[in-house]
Symmetry: C2
């Protein structure tokens, strides 16, 4: 029997699979607690490997946390890319943006919950990793905004400020939606409505920023 001697790369593939299992199991456990209280044994038990096996993949829970940040990045990238691809008039873009946030949060609640919770959590390296990523998105958004015709003539620092407000608004909306839970349709509607209103206010503010927003005119 010329059975192929197991597909090549079986070794490394299996290792990756276990690593992935550790991460997604952690993500599940983290829905009800925070990273600083997550136990190493708790994770390995959920995956079905021995505690010692954990160290073949991570040198500790904080390390796993940082890895989770990087994985979570995927969800965030997909969301922001979808938002930035949005076209149409302002009101339509606001509606679609909020819609997109709500859908992504509903589809991948664990990722967003992790980000929102550990952004201010008790594990410094994870906090830093999340902050770095959000800053990165903010910078990307700044560049996109710089190309916007409505924002012609804006100072770079003002553009950064505006981008930061959008990013923070996204995070806060995600946090509120998660807190409401998946079945609270009425509360969810309330949150998305409030977010649309906020984005509208920010847009009105930017429309008149150059008229009276700069302190130099004082």
């Amino acid at each position: 029997m010329s059975h192929s001697p197991d597909p090549p790369g079986t070794r490394q593939a299996q290792k990756l699979r276990t690593r992935q299992a550790l991460m997604s199991a952690s993500l599940e456990l983290l829905e009800q607690q925070s990273l600083s209280s997550l136990g190493l044994r708790e994770v390995t038990r959920a995956v079905g490997i021995s505690p010692a096996g954990f160290y073949r993949h991570f040198c500790g829970i904080p390390d796993l946390g940082v890895a989770l940040v990087e994985e979570t990045l995927g969800s965030l990238r997909a969301l922001t890319a979808a938002i930035l691809a949005e076209t149409g008039d302002t009101e339509r873009r606001i509606a679609r943006t909020v819609e997109l946030i709500a859908r992504h949060v509903a589809e991948q609640p664990a990722y967003f919950r992790f980000l929102v919770r550990e952004r201010t959590g008790g594990v410094a390296p994870v906090r830093r990793a999340i902050a770095t990523q959000l800053d990165l998105f903010s910078e990307e958004l700044t560049e996109v905004l710089a190309a916007e015709t409505e924002l012609r003539g804006w100072q770079p620092e003002d553009l950064r400020m505006l981008a930061g407000m959008y990013v923070d608004q996204m995070v806060m909306t995600a946090a509120a939606l998660l807190e409401a839970g998946p079945d609270a349709t009425e509360e969810t509607a309330r949150i998305t409505r409030a977010t649309r209103r906020r984005l509208r206010l920010i847009n009105v503010g930017s429309a008149h920023w150059l008229d009276e927003g700069q302190p130099s005119s004082a």
Copy 2:
């Protein structure tokens, strides 16, 4: 010796003092971790009482957390009262508001760190308690805004939205200042500058809200 038989109420006073010690010790320990990983023994050890003694004051760590929320309220009340008492033109009020936030956070970092961290932390009752309090502040602020002459003619829901933005902006600023640390004067200046800019944008937005902010005009 007609020594007074100890001031009356010694018993209750001592109990209160121990309770207070438990709470402030917890607050200190929480600067480096989150509530869901805070150990009961860890707290009693810091205070110098036996683990069993803890139960004379709280029925568990989550209970202590909720009590901490109520205590923390004092700091928040002082801050918001100071902000609301501010007068003068818009730009001056913005500057003073941000100044006040920075000072309060610098003077009572532990309280604000606790609020910011546990607002999205892993302990549901504490999360709810903080959300309730922040909602309360938001409502109070809504009523104050309703009396503002510049906001005459605003819909109640729009006022609530604006108040919510201010509150969230406060929380986010506090979070950023805490993350920077007390000695990062340059970073602190950067943060306060950015916050002033944001508040300015919100103000410009509200100044033109009635002109074009309402979706009914579409």
